[in-house]
Symmetry: none
Subunit: 419 residues, 2 copies
């Protein structure tokens, strides 16, 4: 089994508030192709220590991956120091400067001179293109060893690693493959899920199963080891099927999909449209729905009705309802959903009103009290939920609960069973 080390570069990663998360993602990717991570280092913008770290890592391990320190400024030292550590020169690539100039031009700006620094590449290294940033990566073979130099921002690092590093590493890695799958469950707790499915997953000895709580959902992580991808996938398929049989409609995603993707898929399949009225979530549900490309097919309109006047003005919620029951009530939630749906002329209308805190709670309606309203052509209804957590978590959980409520209603009305 090949061994790897990961070196995260950047003084900010040595402060009390920042932590290196790239290495977790990289570890997962490396593990999947049977490469083990044996050591991780975080080093600041410190030439001597970084040079020594790279050198030692290459002595000990087969593959060394550094992340960060490839920016255009003077404290970005990885380019220079890694070249020195492997005893090679940096070579200037005019075509990289041309490419950068062109990119800046497209953004309507002139390339600052300092960005020229990003056109230096270790002699003999393969250049790894960066789709989402200005720093290219580098991959260089040093005898039997392999050094990969990646930029720090996850959105630059991830696609670069997947497209330009992983395929190469895969070739040199060994025989065992690992395939992973994430199932997501809504409306159940961590221990309840574990109790229900432990007898099932324990009988699959080649699959590592772990159950995690993720803000508003339970994630069931499956990792199957086998000799071929097909074999691993078959095992995963079988285990996932048994878990769904046990947990039923609570399982909303079979392959890591997000709640907003699943809801979008259901709406598309059923050819239905949606509008959303949000109070305490302030636009979060709309934001999540429209984070999915193509959402315009089913998501027609949203209203962020933070004030009572807005609820009345935009959604025709009768002032008497707010006066009598309060803006946070089943009655108001239902009126919001109905008003939204009628105004936007959609098949479904969903609403959320609640108390996200930290202020605004009372004995009768404490922080975390949330009402979700639902309206279709035939009926209007609502549920009340009480959510734990701080403002951020309550808002997030309310948005997930609203999407899940809609999902269950669509499944019910279309009489479909989750596949």
């Amino acid at each position: 089994m090949l061994s790897a080390e990961i070196i995260a570069v950047g003084s900010e990663l040595l402060t009390p508030t920042k932590t290196d998360t790239n290495s977790l993602w990289l570890t997962e990717k490396l593990n999947e192709i049977g490469i083990e991570v044996r050591l991780k280092t975080v080093v600041g913008d410190d030439r001597a220590r970084l040079e020594e770290t790279i050198r030692e890592a290459l002595r000990r391990s087969d593959i060394v991956i550094s992340t960060g320190g490839l920016g255009p400024t003077e404290d970005d030292i990885t380019r220079e120091v890694s070249a020195k550590a492997v005893g090679r020169e940096l070579v200037y690539h005019e075509e990289l400067v041309e490419d950068l100039r062109e990119r800046f031009r497209r953004w309507g700006r002139e390339m600052p001179k300092t960005n020229k620094r990003q056109a230096y590449v270790i002699e003999g290294a393969r250049i790894l293109p960066n789709l989402n940033g200005s720093a290219v990566g580098m991959a260089v073979e040093i005898g039997e060893k392999f050094l990969v130099v990646l930029p720090g921002p996850p959105r630059e690092l991830k696609p670069m690693f997947e497209a330009h590093v992983l395929p190469t590493l895969k070739k040199s890695a060994g025989e065992i493959v690992v395939r992973r799958r994430i199932l997501r469950v809504a409306g159940m707790g961590e221990s309840a899920v574990d109790e229900a499915i432990a007898p099932i997953y324990k009988s699959f000895e080649t699959v590592e199963t772990s159950i995690l709580f993720n803000r508003s959902e339970i994630e069931i992580h499956l990792a199957a080891k086998a000799k071929t991808e097909t074999e691993a996938e078959t095992i995963l398929e079988e285990l996932a099927g048994k878990i769904v049989q046990q947990l039923g409609v609570a399982v909303f995603a079979l392959d890591g999909e997000l709640m907003e993707e699943i809801v979008g898929k259901l709406l598309t399949e059923n050819n239905k449209t949606l509008s959303i009225a949000e109070s305490c979530t302030g636009g979060l549900i709309g934001e999540r729905l429209t984070d999915v490309s193509g959402a315009s097919r089913y998501f027609i309109e949203g209203a962020v009705v933070y004030s009572n006047q807005a609820k009345t003005r935009t959604l025709s919620v009768a002032p008497e309802i707010i006066e009598r029951f309060g803006a946070v009530s089943a009655e108001c939630a239902e009126a919001m959903a109905r008003g939204m749906r009628e105004k936007a002329e959609t098949d479904f209308g969903i609403s959320v009103t609640g108390i996200a805190g930290p202020d605004g709670g009372s004995d009768e309606k404490p922080v975390g009290t949330v009402f979700i309203g639902y309206a279709d052509g035939a009926k209007t209804k609502s549920i009340k939920i009480t959510l734990p957590g701080d403002r951020y978590l309550i808002r997030w959980r309310a948005s997930s609960a609203a999407l899940d409520y809609l999902r269950r209603q669509i499944l019910k009305s279309s009489s479909e069973i989750v596949k």
Copy 2:
């Protein structure tokens, strides 16, 4: 200034889901008494690598702190390996076994034999009592250097470190304290900021300055070292002032505040109200604004007008505007802002319409083209921006640009200068 390294021991910290968080807490404590963390390592239950890591760390840095690997089982190797790394014997302490036996008795259990392993201590080390667990810690001076061996569980490590390590380190650390500050800058690139302020921050020798790019903004991290907190704060204040003088209105936060907090503060101070019409950001701006507790004071209403009908129906955008100029146009953005403001009866109306991708781009309006509209009582205007990145980043950057546009308009109209 004394330098420290932290070594986290444990194979579980090299998996894709676990991360070392002890080092963040330790870093904070060390920084507070003026000790700088220069390197962090995560190493598995791997004798050779751990021994080498401890040895190298002691060579490079004044203080080395290891966490974890002190349990009673065979894969807990820190005790043995650290003794070997510093060339000393492990000494058996009968009184520690007695103490452990007594503890187990109190829990109504008999001490398992394996726990005897926890009674071995590096020769000459000071024993650090553990109030919340069975593994004692060790502190040992190796010439001028200082090695501290702590257990992994945070609730054992923290009280042990505070009671038995911090006071000793404080004495040798001397007088220096570190104070940190983050400035945020909008509308400028990383290199442009660096070029403009490098001459300033370089003249402050006791402040470490680093410049980071954070999705849509530039962060300037300042860490001032001084003999007292007051002195450090005075230096930070002076440097921050000079940076603002240089960069002007582009600096929007002087102490780490988020854009949505700053906009909220400006609206509150000026006693103004706001409504937002969002197309491509889908609710993200409303979500960010209402993430700030108390936003109901100034944020009245938002509309997520994803479809053209919604733009016309809800915001009274004339269909001819959409037909003639397109939904992604300056004309449409301005009509949206004006319509929103009039409908919601607010002081300001802000709108966003653009192409977040991955689909929907054209030669004339490629993915990333975004128009931001602004309306107040007196005028309506708009800007066009072109944003790089994927769908997520384009949406995030568009939301930040819209908030920043509003911020600049408020500053202009209230003729205030950023303080």
